[in-house]
Subunit: 305 residues, 2 copies
């Protein structure tokens, strides 16, 4: 949603909602999720809003819409290392949408919820001009990881190479059927990296999920942690993309496309994820080519259709 | 939103989302809010969705929209006796809505949040065809009160006589300015009964807030508690309405109009609220006239414009 300068609006909101409440560890604008204390527990709260025109690709099934609405929220929680526990949703149906459609959306949600033992405990149902599904998820973290915790000397890990969702979307746009596109499941039923987030939270410095783009997530970690981040060409793989597009386009998708819902985290070492770079003193995010040349990785991305 | 049989859809959802998760005390469809255990605490979760066409009366200021979006969620929490703690929101702006508009909406939220020491800890911002504000609130209850706890022998209490919001709305529709209508604040800046909910939660049997109508809230308590509820004509006052409309219309507004955000609760006795009736063995909700005649109070209401 960087299209209309969402980040400027987030900045405005975080100023207006600045809080001194003691139970708030990370509030509005501090991170991708809120982290609060309830009793002795660290509770992570997040919300994500999907709407038909921007977020549901053509041909998406109602079950997949339900899946997606939950998945994007679980991905947010995964980015802090929280175990997801509870989910609520608001659904705005268009006039004429059937009970059958509604049931299918809910079943898609229920199936994914079951996989992670998430209880869907409430919601609100409404009628409007466009289909909206807004989700709200709460999780519990033994150790929560923010975007601000990266330290020079750490390595940078990525749970899977990015660009697959947008590649698939563009192939869909170009007229291909969903059966013909290579990573349909990344686009229609992305799997949030819940287990990986919990494992990485035991040792990660900084972590976040990637919804807008790898570039945006890296830049957020760099800014909030006050560090430089170097991504090495020699450590990444674009094979999953160069099978379908040229190398230049592949790199663009890898860095700047969204919708993959992978996790990026920093750690001294990790048994999970692919090491793609290093945290250094300084600022900015760079792509270090095999010949040693460095290029800035910009703060930009796209994840909506 | 009883218009499109929201209650049928809620029933469908509660079947699909039935859970055996131990930390869930009240899940989807059980009550107006969800109640869950986090550590040793009872945490109450709710969500409410407002959209421009159905929920914001003409002439409503952006600050009031922000106020309203938070107020309706705090009212839900108040209905369980929870102290509100955290709030998140999703706002969908229409193309062309200014930064200034956005800031005003947020300030309206922030002002009400401050009054109850609620921290607004996150949100999501989007563009769409209609202005939407979805809120999620979390509160903590020492003793939570559900709709299912009414017991024969208890009295029925109401925090204030209902019908004011809809009366004001209808006067607005009839061409009056907002300065001329009698209960403008009920319509534009309803105050959630947070303190009253906390006080009543110490001794109430059943409780809920009234968003759709007094009749719907009474019927929900009656059904879920398995009790009959008698409302006595001699115990209610319609003076606040008969000043403007005839007695028949006043009673219709009192019982069936929504938007007042009062609390209704049952208790042996209470220092707060007006006693308007009694809980009996049996089923159904009745209006007992001064002459002793009884009329069924139906399961219906309206609260949207």
């Amino acid at each position: 949603m960087a299209e209309f300068n969402e980040f400027k609006f987030i900045e405005i909101a975080s100023k207006i909602f600045k809080t001194t409440k003691k139970s708030v560890i990370a509030g509005a604008g501090d991170d991708d999720c809120a982290v609060v204390n309830i009793g002795e527990k660290f509770v992570v709260l997040t919300t994500d809003n999907l709407h038909e025109k921007a977020d549901f690709p053509a041909g998406m099934l109602p079950e997949e819409m339900g899946h997606m609405a939950l998945a994007v929220n679980l991905s947010d929680l995964a980015g802090t290392g929280a175990k997801p526990e509870f989910f609520l949703f608001d659904i705005t149906l268009r006039e004429g949408m059937t009970e059958d459609f509604f049931i299918k959306v809910l079943r898609g949600m229920a199936k994914l919820a079951k996989r992670y033992d998430v209880a869907i405990v409430g919601g609100d149902i409404d009628l409007g001009d466009e289909l909206f599904i807004t989700g709200f998820a709460a999780g519990i973290a033994d150790r929560y990881i923010l975007q601000s915790g990266a330290k020079p000397g750490e390595n940078i890990y990525l749970t899977d190479m990015t660009g697959k969702a947008q590649l698939s979307l563009e192939m869909l746009f170009s007229g291909k059927d969903r059966e013909e596109i290579p990573y349909a499941s990344k686009l229609f039923t992305p799997v949030p990296r819940v287990e990986e987030g919990i494992v990485a939270s035991r040792y990660a410095g900084a972590m976040t999920d990637i919804s807008d783009s790898l570039a945006i997530s890296l830049n957020l970690i760099s800014r909030k942690s006050g560090v430089r981040m170097d991504i090495f060409e020699r450590d990444i793989s674009l094979d999953h993309l160069t099978e379908f597009v040229d190398k230049r386009k592949a790199l663009e998708l890898f860095l700047y496309a969204g919708g993959d819902y992978e996790l990026i985290f920093t750690a001294e070492e990790s048994n999970i994820g692919y090491r793609i770079g290093e945290v250094r003193k300084g600022k900015g995010v760079y792509f270090v080519k095999e010949d040693g040349d460095r290029e800035k990785i910009e703060f930009r991305g796209y994840s909506h259709f």
